[in-house]
Symmetry: C2
Subunit: 249 residues, 2 copies
Amino acid sequence: MVAGLPNPRSASVSVMPKALLFDTFGTVVDWRGSIVEEGRAWGKVKGINLDWAGFADRWRAGYQPAMDKVRKGQLPWTKLDVLHRLILEEILMEFRMMPALSEEEKDHWNRVWHRLKPWPDSVPALRRLKKKLIIAPLSNGNVGLLTNMAKNAGLPWDAILSAELAKHYKPDREAYLTSVDLLGLKPEEVMMCAAHVGDLNAARSFGLRTGFIHRPNEYGPARQADKASPGQFDVVAKDMLDLAAQLGT
Amino acid sequence: MVAGLPNPRSASVSVMPKALLFDTFGTVVDWRGSIVEEGRAWGKVKGINLDWAGFADRWRAGYQPAMDKVRKGQLPWTKLDVLHRLILEEILMEFRMMPALSEEEKDHWNRVWHRLKPWPDSVPALRRLKKKLIIAPLSNGNVGLLTNMAKNAGLPWDAILSAELAKHYKPDREAYLTSVDLLGLKPEEVMMCAAHVGDLNAARSFGLRTGFIHRPNEYGPARQADKASPGQFDVVAKDMLDLAAQLGT
């Protein structure tokens, strides 16, 4: 049982963190559902009928390979907004949408990542957590993207942290440790929270605590979402409200 | 008159900014009054009678010379928390307080800058401004200091920007332009807001818009606060609520 915490479910956390860092795409916001929803509404107006789930999946599939080029030094540091735009150009051709879009529309589409909608429990859980702990994103999304996303979605962050501030994409070491240093904390005082096992394994290897949040519908029926067993991370939560409860908030 | 803005007082602003960056020490929070208040309360408990206004003024007087060493390259990049602590060590000796303080107490005192109180109009004005614009600090305070300050004082920032992210103290060019770039904006889309003419003159020279906020009591009776004439900056406001009104929020 954690000292000073009334909730017996917090027993699994041996020392309370001072700050929580959240992965965003998939963990806090529903990228796939948001892109499908915006695509369908836009398609209706424009008379364009498309497999929007396929469009979203294809865009997201380009995400890791694009960041890999930066991680391996094949590209200099490049903001995620710019990588998203490079991938968008490709998929607009693949989906035969190129002639239909003006430059302004392409830019607007690229910023769909600034307008992603939160999972229903994200905002209530963050409000609870914020009362006792520092909460911030630690995303591969750039600061501007995350700031606009927070404003659109009502995410009550205490600060905006990003891989951009380290000029290193997760899971590079610098992304985690720069965030910890900016908060003036030690790695063990910070918990990385994510729906992705790879992100958490990396964070743990650099000394951070870890909180898993299950997001079974992140990829829709297209792909199985990550799972975690009890004890695999400092906290294993079935959703973000469960994480808030387990941390005694 | 600005298009779309109902408030005729916004006539002085030719193009509305998308984001406002705020100097914090003196502009958003009352550093002198806060240190005096905390000093008096602490002194009562400890039985220490001190000229707390003099103590605050002396601490603040060490601020520019310490940053100058970083600006001129005599010191490598050093967080403000660390500079504050170096100055504190000096003034504890000057004020003959050295034997009275444990390491824990010194650290707590150093973090008084994380606990500064806002001027009475700051939080209501920021809440109004936040509805229409991105609001963030752009302070020489480090990210951790500003994050804790926001949490303690209830400052509803959309992001925490700091000289620390550029590793250059204001008024160095990099401090302003790194913040603009992190927001994904152009300099002319961003307004620097401050009670200090030097900060605003620098921001303007790098292409930002400028908003002056008069804080007549920043230095108490010790020193005259900066003033600005109408037209000297894009907005010249008598306080932060006046700034909010002039920006049509």
